[in-house]
């Protein structure tokens, strides 16, 4: 009992304050046991990781991104997109149907695959994808508060391609092999400019702490260092393998590359990997370039303002990014590498110079 009380104290000391739902929360807090649950839910670290901007929103985001992407693509392509599954919402739950179908479909592990790795790696791949969520702050709602959040997020993101390459290796198929090689090559091409762009922003703000970064963005970072902004966007497209850089999993060329042999739930897992990566990178992008969680505050929402703004900005970033898919064709691997190693790297260095100059003596 004492332990529970201690826990309660911990939760209560760091609870979200949302005036809008306070009338509901207050009576709930009187009920024994249930109050523990409510307190846990409203405990800032827990809320940040599990609800917003963490897993729950991630899930909703996934459904939204996939639906929005398909709908927007369809709009550009003179057609309607998913609709009949639920007409009143214009087919918004299409991704749910697809997800359910994948969930209940047979997961085939073919004879030549390396069975344990083949099954484990898609699940393993979630660790580097989901860990950064713990470090992404939204105002005072944050999982683990650290001044080194930005480098940490970048470090975890860099682990993802390794799992993808491993997935391709475990699949033991020709196209998966080619896809893995392509992924590895692309990784080198985008990772360096990407990290340099992030470093330039760190120089610019004089700190690797997201709080400092957001604080200093009275003018959004996108305007302070537009070159870094551009480099970040392009390397984001490359990193999440979206067109025109959808090279590692080029459907028509190498049949989804590393993921060619996956089916059922396992494919569902690997398919959302890129989208989750996109979500995390967009969060980082928002913090670095779009002023993070700053925005007009609504008193009634209290602490919820910050995560809400962060998520809204992120969704806008993703929504703009998905339009690229219906505009461009896929580059060839050598062309993409050339872009990565020449143009992108050059721009990244310019961005670094801008960052260093502007951020001279401890940031702007």
């Amino acid at each position: 009992m004492e332990m529970l009380d201690a826990l309660m104290q911990i939760f209560k000391s760091n609870m979200l304050e949302i005036p809008a739902i306070q009338p509901i929360v207050d009576p709930l807090m009187q009920i024994p046991w249930l109050n523990l649950l409510v307190a846990l839910l409203l405990w800032r670290p827990f809320f940040a990781i599990v609800v917003m901007p963490g897993l729950l929103v991630l899930m909703i985001c996934l459904l939204y991104i996939i639906w929005f992407e398909r709908k927007l693509t369809a709009r550009i392509q003179w057609r309607v997109g998913p609709l009949e599954v639920f007409r009143p919402l214009r087919g918004a739950i299409q991704a749910l149907a697809d997800g359910l179908r994948y969930f209940f479909q047979e997961s085939i592990v073919h004879k030549e695959a390396h069975r344990p790795y083949f099954v484990q790696l898609p699940i393993l791949a979630f660790i580097p994808v989901l860990l950064p969520i713990a470090f992404i702050p939204a105002g005072n709602v944050v999982g683990i508060k650290t001044p080194y959040a930005i480098p940490l997020i970048v470090a975890f993101l860099s682990l993802i391609p390794i799992t993808v390459v491993a997935i391709g290796w475990a699949s033991n198929s020709r196209f998966a092999f080619i896809g893995s090689v392509r992924e590895a090559l692309m990784y080198v091409a985008y990772e360096i400019p990407f990290i340099i762009a992030v470093i330039s922003m760190i120089y610019l703000y004089g700190s690797a702490d997201p709080y400092v970064a957001v604080e200093k963005q009275s003018i959004p970072g996108a305007l302070l260092n537009p070159v870094a902004f551009l480099v970040f966007i392009i390397s984001m497209l490359m990193a999440t393998s979206r067109l025109p850089f959808e090279i590692p999993e080029a459907d028509q060329e190498i049949a989804f590359g590393p993921f060619v042999e996956y089916s059922g739930m396992l494919f569902g897992l690997v398919m959302v990997l890129a989208y989750e990566k996109l979500y995390i990178m967009s969060l980082l992008f928002t913090i670095l370039f779009l002023g993070g969680w700053s925005g007009p505050q609504l008193a009634i929402l209290g602490d919820l303002n910050a995560p809400l703004w962060l998520v809204i900005k992120t969704l806008i970033v993703i929504s703009v990014l998905v339009i690229v898919r219906s505009m461009y064709a896929r580059f060839r691997i050598d062309q993409a590498l050339r872009i990565g190693f020449s143009w992108l790297l050059a721009f990244a260095i310019i961005a670094l110079a801008i960052g260093v100059v502007l951020g001279y003596e401890g940031g702007i």
């Binding site: 057609r79 309607v80 609709l83 087919g91 359910l100 179908r101 085939i108």
Partner: protein, 349 residues
């Protein structure tokens, strides 16, 4: 494991599974024949199959529906079966197009297999090709089947109960008239007003062919003996006739010979562009061998391989051995006249 499968199929979660599958029927990209054009129309912006949850997708492992688009040949049948086996359960098959049902216009062809004998089929769609609407109707019917559990056809035919009548003693004969002793003349002279042709004939005199005739405007037939065909061809090549438009073999079982024809024309000399020379030679049917022209005219290569497949005529010097166009289990030399096809039936029983 079986209990688990049973639980998924009929337990508490079954409605969710059915609902998810119903609205997420993704056809795999397995283009089998020309109905693929209408398939593409059904999933392009004119009809947009994605509207009803069907998204055409690349790889068999990640999809759950095969739409067989028309004719399945012997070669393709294996692929169809492999693709079907690659797909995870639950999986469905819709066959569109008359060729896929019962052969359609190719019903007595030697290279066709019925898809319903290769994979279990859920729905059949008639038409040649079926309209995109018909294909979407098929998907709708499949969705209905997933919802209610039983397959229903979308059209109901009225049936009149009548007693069978007596067949008359004589039935009208087939409209086909096939000559018993066909007489084939490739180089039949026709009078045409064609100046260049006459000049060409003059210049061809150096070739010393057995016979040369203007068969129509812009068409000249040159008969050579089989052992001189290479010689004449390389002469023609030097004259500016640079490519082969067609390689043809005609089977004459009554006379015990094959006629091998090369239709040669020119791209490099404007004057010769419309001219098609028919260089032909006769070879014995018992020993069907002729020199290949594929090194003189690389454009003849694939067509020689094809003729090798279809007639069993050996082109000496063509590097290709074995089957090119046909599957290993196709009947040998199907285009020879002694390979007979199934005859039409005009009276139902």
């Amino acid at each position: 494991m079986d209990e688990f499968v049973k639980f998924i199929n009929s337990g508490v979660l079954a409605p969710f599974k059915r609902w998810g599958t119903k609205w997420s029927l993704w056809p795999v990209h397995l283009v089998t024949a020309c109905c693929g054009a209408e398939f593409a129309h059904a999933f392009a912006c004119g009809y947009d199959g994605e509207r009803i949850g069907a998204l055409s997708y690349g790889i068999a492992r990640q999809t759950n529906l095969i739409i067989v688009e028309g004719a399945i040949t012997r070669k393709m049948a294996k692929v169809l079966r492999i693709t079907w086996e690659q797909m995870p359960d639950p999986k469905f098959v819709i066959v569109m197009g008359a060729c896929g049902l019962n052969g359609g216009i190719f019903w007595n062809g030697y290279n066709l297999v019925k898809p319903s004998e290769v994979v279990p089929v859920d729905f059949f769609i008639p038409g040649c090709p079926p309209t995109p609407e018909a294909l979407l109707r098929g998907i709708r019917q499949l969705q209905k089947k997933l919802e209610t559990g039983d397959a229903e056809s979308s059209a109901d035919f009225y049936d009149l109960k009548l007693k069978k009548g007596k067949l008359p003693k004589f039935l009208p004969k087939s409209p086909k008239k096939i000559s018993v002793n066909p007489c084939i003349v490739i180089d039949r002279r026709r009078e045409v007003d064609w100046e260049t042709g006459k000049k060409l004939l003059e210049s061809f005199k150096v070739l010393k062919v057995e016979n040369m005739v203007i068969t129509a405007k812009n068409r000249i037939a040159l008969r050579v003996s089989a052992d001189r065909i290479r010689e004449v061809a390389s002469e023609l090549r030097k004259m500016g006739f640079d490519h082969v438009k067609s390689v043809n073999v005609i089977d004459l079982p009554a006379e015990g010979k094959f006629i091998v024809e090369y239709h040669i024309s020119s791209y490099s000399i404007r004057e010769f562009m419309p001219v098609i020379l028919n260089l032909f030679a006769e070879i014995p049917r018992a020993k069907p061998e002729v020199d290949s022209l594929s090194d003189i005219f690389p454009s003849a290569d694939y067509m020689e391989r094809e003729m090798q497949d279809l007639f069993g005529v050996v082109f000496r010097g063509n590097p290709w051995k074995g089957k090119f166009l046909l599957a290993p289990d196709t009947p040998e030399n199907p285009l020879r006249k002694d390979f007979k096809l199934q005859e039409e039936v005009y009276v139902g029983d």
